[in-house]
């Protein structure tokens, strides 16, 4: 009804994606602490006179107030908590890793307004780790992909057989089977990764950074390949940003 005030809500959020709308507006996709994934219109934010347009850039950690709408909510106020993107935009490989992180966060929240507190915390932690630049960006990305899949119920089996549960360690790895398999369950075409690669995947899954950072570049590359294959199998569609991740180390 005209003149009726729409309910307001306030939440902590990460900006996952922004899309242009009309002359000067944007649709922002937010992953909020309490309201899950939310899409909202931010009016006039592309104008240089906008008071909060700069805070609604991708990867920003913000305190946002929105008014509820019928199809899309509207952003009414934004305060910056940490402009995380600004801290890694001068490092191209980290920017591409961050893009893959926010794309997966969006894909793992298919239903709007369904709370996803653990995913929110995991995504915020990963973006902070990229911004702090204390750990290799590619390892931060692979750790995020593994843990996010684990939260979604798709953790790869890395020790015991994924099919029959026979205690490991096992050498064969099959993406369709869900991880390592014993000799009896090994399907045709199963890969045989370097044992150090499986150890690295385990270390990334539990956050053993000392062990993870101690691995060779070839092992990290093989690990990235298995993580990407495992992710694509479960999502059924590849992340658009994953092939564009720049895995060279910054100069």
């Amino acid at each position: 009804m005209p003149g009726m005030r729409r309910p307001l809500y306030r939440d902590d959020a990460l900006v996952l994606r922004v899309q242009k709308l009309g002359e000067a507006d944007r649709i922002v996709t937010l992953l909020t602490r309490q309201h899950g994934r939310v899409r909202a219109v931010a009016k006039g934010v592309r104008r240089t006179t906008s008071r909060f347009g700069a805070r609604l850039e991708p990867f920003s950690h913000i305190d946002v107030q929105c008014s509820e709408g019928t199809s899309l909510d509207s952003v009414t106020q934004v305060e910056a908590r940490d402009m995380l993107g600004r801290r890694f935009l001068t490092d191209y490989p980290r920017y591409t890793a961050a893009s893959a992180i926010v794309e997966l966060a969006e894909r793992l929240t298919p239903v709007e307004r369904e709370p996803a507190m653990r995913l929110y915390q995991l995504t915020l932690g990963a973006l902070r780790a990229l911004a702090d630049a204390e750990r290799p960006g590619t390892l931060v990305l692979d750790a995020y992909l593994l843990r996010a899949m684990s939260q979604a119920g798709w953790a790869p089996a890395l020790r015991d057989c994924a099919v029959c549960g026979e205690p490991g360690p096992h050498r064969a790895f099959s993406v369709p089977s869900g991880g390592v398999t014993c000799l009896n369950c090994r399907p045709p075409g199963a890969a045989h990764p370097d044992p150090a690669t499986l150890d690295l995947m385990s270390a990334l899954l539990v956050g053993d950074w000392a062990a993870a950072q101690d691995t060779e570049a070839a092992v990290q590359r093989e690990c990235a390949g298995f993580v990407a294959a495992h992710l694509q199998w479960h999502l059924e569609r590849q992340l658009r940003s994953l092939p564009l991740v720049d895995r060279r180390e910054p100069a």
Partner: protein, 197 residues
């Protein structure tokens, strides 16, 4: 729903960016009421833009010949190239009368979330222009947003080893505004880019 030609026109207008169903209907009835000569001129302009306008073979700005007006102008500096995302950015910079060099239009910005990587832009063509050895300065004038900054970072990473001076447009306060109304990010950038008087 209208019948025949008028509904066809509303449908076609409604496919244009920023034109909703109401605006499409308003424009369609304006066309219907307008003078025949005006509408013929509009139709001719629409046809001509598709038939005659192409991309400049050097800078990829819009042009009606092989090269655009700026690339054909011998008075423009050949040692400085300003990199922009879209042809409309060329017009915006030309309005300043501050830059007398040449341009390179990328055709967008790196945006991994939309599947746009360096190979989808005219970066290879830019590198070919730079390898001629004539260019000594590259000015990165991509948009001051996340995608524009990332594109500028990528280009700087690629071009700096060639020994070319790479600069980025400054960010700061809009002229005529009040300091108290500036957001902290813009104000912070203005502080970073302050200059000695």
């Amino acid at each position: 729903m209208y019948e025949g030609a008028i509904q066809d026109l509303i449908d076609e207008l409604g496919r244009l960016p920023g034109v909703g169903p109401k605006s499409a209907q308003r424009i369609a009835f304006h066309v219907l009421a307008a003078d025949q000569t005006d509408i013929k001129r509009l139709a001719a302009a629409l046809t001509r833009v598709k038939e005659q306008v192409r991309f400049c073979v050097q800078c990829y700005n819009v042009a009606e010949e092989d090269s655009c007006r700026i690339c054909r102008d011998p008075r423009r500096r050949e040692d400085a190239i300003c990199v922009v995302e879209e042809p409309k950015d060329v017009v915006a910079i030309e309005r300043t009368n501050e830059f007398r060099g040449r341009y390179h239009v990328l055709g967008g910005a790196i945006n991994p979330l939309e599947g746009v990587g360096p190979d989808n832009l005219r970066i290879r063509e830019l590198m070919a222009r730079l390898s001629s050895g004539k260019v000594t300065e590259l000015i990165l004038a991509t948009d001051p947003n996340t995608e524009g900054e990332a594109t500028a970072t990528y280009l700087a990473l690629m071009v700096k080893p060639m020994g070319i001076t790479v600069s980025r447009l400054a960010s700061g306060l809009p002229v005529g505004g009040d300091l108290e109304y500036a957001d902290e990010i813009t104000l912070g950038r203005a502080f970073e880019g302050r200059r000695t008087l």
